[in-house]
C-alpha cells in the first residue's frame, strides 16, 4: 500500500533520482574496490615485466596456489595473520623460485623472450594441474577477512570488505612506491628495469634483483588472490578472470607504468561495474578483453606508458 502511494508525484520523482544516485555510488564504490585488486594484480605483472621483460602468464596460477595455501592454513586453525602472512610469503617464495629455478637457467642458455613467456605458460599449467591434484576441483568458499554492517559515508554506502580491499590496494601501492623511491634496493631495482647491462656493470647484482622483483610481484598477486577469494569461489581455475583483468589493467596503464597499473585497475573496475550494473553482468570478462583491444588500437602506450619503441 505504502508502495502504491509512492508511485507518481513530484517528491517521488526526486526520491527516484536519489535512489538512482545511490545505485550509481554503490557501483562506483564496488568498482573501485574490485579495481584495487585488479591494480594489485597489474602491479605484480608490470613489476615483473619491467624487471625481466617476461610477461608472466603464470601469475594467476601462482596467486591461486598461494590462496589455496592460505585456505589450508586457515582450515588447520592457524591464526588469521599467520595464515595470510604465510600464504603471501609462500607465494613470494614460489615467484622467486620460478625466476631462480626456471627462467634464469633458460636465460643462461640464451633463451628468447618468446621461450621465457612459454615457460611461464608451462608453469601455469603445472601449477593448475598440481592444485587440481592436491585440492581437487570442487568449488570452495573462502572465508571473508572482514565482516560487519556496511558503512554509511554521507549518501554513499560501502561495505567494510570493499573499503578494506581499497585500503589494502592503496597502501601496498604506496609501500611499493616508497620502496622503489627511498631504498637502495629499490634504486637498484629501478636501475635494472632501465638497463640491465649497465646496471650489472655498475655492480648491481642483477640476478638477485630479478629474484626480488619476481618475489615481490608474485607476492602482490598472492595478496590480490587472497582478497578476491571471498568474493568469488576458490578452485584451480578461479583466478583466471583476475589474471585477465590484471592484464587489462596493466595494458590500460601502459604495461610499463606502475602508477598506470593502479589507475588502470581502478578504471577497469569502475567501467566493468557500470557495464554490469546498467547493461548486463555477463559483460564483465568480455569487457576486459574489449578494453585490451581498444587500448591497442587507440593508444598502444596506454594511459601512462611511454611511447613504445625498442632497441634494435
Amino acid at each position: 500500500m505504502a508502495k502504491a502511494w509512492r508511485m507518481g508525484g513530484v517528491s517521488d520523482r526526486r526520491e527516484d533520482r536519489g535512489a538512482r544516485m545511490d545505485l550509481l555510488i554503490r557501483y562506483l564504490a564496488g568498482g573501485l574496490s574490485a579495481g584495487a585488486l585488479y591494480g594489485l594484480m597489474a602491479l605484480g605483472l608490470v613489476l615483473i615485466y619491467r624487471a625481466s621483460e617476461v610477461v608472466n602468464f603464470g601469475h594467476g596460477d601462482l596467486a591461486m596456489v598461494s590462496t589455496f595455501a592460505a585456505y589450508t592454513l586457515l582450515r588447520a586453525h592457524a591464526p588469521l595473520p599467520l595464515a595470510l602472512g604465510g600464504a603471501v610469503l609462500f607465494g613470494a617464495a614460489l615467484g622467486a623460485l620460478a625466476e631462480r629455478g626456471l627462467l634464469r637457467p633458460a636465460r643462461r642458455r640464451r633463451a628468447t623472450p618468446l621461450t621465457l613467456v612459454v615457460l611461464t605458460l608451462g608453469l601455469a599449467l603445472v601449477l593448475n594441474g598440481l592444485a587440481g591434484l592436491l585440492w581437487g576441483h570442487e568449488i570452495r568458499t573462502f572465508p571473508g577477512l572482514v565482516s560487519g554492517p556496511p558503512l554509511r559515508l554521507g549518501p554513499a554506502v560501502i561495505t567494510r570488505e570493499q573499503l578494506f580491499n581499497l585500503a589494502v590496494g592503496l597502501l601496498l601501492a604506496l609501500a611499493l612506491y616508497a620502496f622503489l623511491r627511498f631504498t637502495r634496493t629499490g634504486l637498484a631495482l629501478r636501475a635494472v628495469t632501465q638497463n640491465p647491462e649497465v646496471a650489472r656493470l655498475m655492480g648491481i647484482p642483477v640476478d638477485r634483483i630479478l629474484i626480488l622483483a619476481w618475489g615481490v610481484g608474485v607476492g602482490l598477486g598472492a595478496i590480490a588472490g587472497i582478497l578476491a577469494a571471498p568474493l568469488i569461489y576458490l578452485e584451480p581455475n578461479a583466478m583466471l578472470p583476475l589474471l585477465i583483468k590484471g592484464f587489462a589493467a596493466a595494458v590500460l596503464g601502459g604495461m610499463t607504468s606502475l602508477p598506470g597499473a593502479v589507475i588502470g585497475g581502478w578504471l577497469l573496475g569502475i567501467l566493468e561495474n557500470l557495464a554490469a550494473g546498467y547493461i548486463a553482468t555477463e559483460l564483465k570478462t568480455p569487457l576486459a578483453f574489449a578494453l585490451i583491444v581498444a587500448v591497442l588500437v587507440v593508444r598502444p602506450a596506454g594511459l601512462l606508458g611511454r611511447p613504445i619503441s625498442h632497441r634494435v
Binding site: 615485466y49 610477461v55 602468464f57 640464451r110 633463451a111 628468447t112 623472450p113 618468446l114 621461450t115 613467456v117 612459454v118 605458460l121 608451462g122 601455469a124 599449467l125 593448475n128 594441474g129 576441483h137 581455475n237 578461479a238 583466478m239 583466471l240 578472470p241 589474471l243 585477465i244 592484464f247 587489462a248 595494458v251 604495461m255 555477463e282 570478462t285 568480455p286 576486459a288 578483453f289 574489449a290 585490451i292 583491444v293 591497442l296 588500437v297 598502444p300 613504445i308 625498442h310 632497441r311 634494435v312
Partner: protein, 279 residues
Amino acid sequence: MARRIVRGALIAGILGVTAFTLPSYFLYILSLAGIWAIAAIGLDLLTGVAGQISIGHAGFMAIGAYTVALLSLRLEVPFWLALPAAGLLNALIGLALGLPALRLSGPYLAIATLGFGVAVVEILRRWEPVTGGFMGLKVPPPALGPWSLRSDAAQYLLIGTLLVLLAGIAIRLIRSPFGRAWIALRDREAAAQAAGISLAQDAGGLSAGASGGVDPGGSPAGLHHRSRLRRLRGGGTGHPGAWQMGRFGRPRRGSLRNRSGGPGGDPHLGHRSRRAGGV
C-alpha cells in the same frame, strides 16, 4: 610425381588399414590426437614460423566448432560447406584481432589472445538461446553427401585425411614466399633480441606442444569448454574439422600483411588458406 603418388598411396593405405583393424576406442583416441595435431600445426605456423604467440586458440577452436554446429543444426548447411565457412569466419576474426596486436611487437598479441580465448568461452556459455549455454548442442554426425560419418572409423578417416592434407599445405606454405616472409619476420625480431633462429624454433615447438594443454588448462572456462566440445563430439561431429579451421586463425595473415605487406601477398594468402579450409 611418381614418388608423390606412392607416398599418397602409402598414407591412404595406412589410414585405411588402421581404420578397419584397430578397435573403435583406439580410433577415437587417435582421432582426438589428430585434432590436437592439427591444432598444433596451426600454432606451429604461428609461433614456430612467424614467431608470434597465441594463447587464445581455444577461442578460435570454439568459434569454429560452434559455427559448424549451428550452421548444420539451424540452417542445415552441409558439412563440407560449413567447414570452410567456419574457417572464413575465424579468418576474419583473427584478422581483426591480429591487426591491432601485431602493430606492436612484444607481448601484446599473447595478452590479447589470452583475453580473447576467455571472452569467447564466456560469451558462448552465456549466449544460451544460440549456443545452448552450459548444456551445449547436440550435433548430428558430419555427412559427406549421402554418407553419414557416424562410426568412429569414419570419423577417424575424416580427421586423418584432413590432418595429412593440412600438414601438406602447411609445409607448402612454409616453403612458399609467404612462409619465407614469416620466417624473416620471426628472425628479424629474434635478431633484434640478439638471439638465434634455432632458439625461436625451440620456442615454436614448445608452444605448439603446450598449446593443446593451454586451452583447457590455461583458461578457466577451459575445462568446461573442453568438455562441452567433447559433448558436441559425443553426437559425432564436425568439430574436429572445425577445430582445425579454428586454429588456422588468421593472426598470421595479419602479421604478414603488416610487416612485409608484399604486393598481392594478402589475397594470395587468403586464397591459399581458404583452400586449406575447403579441404
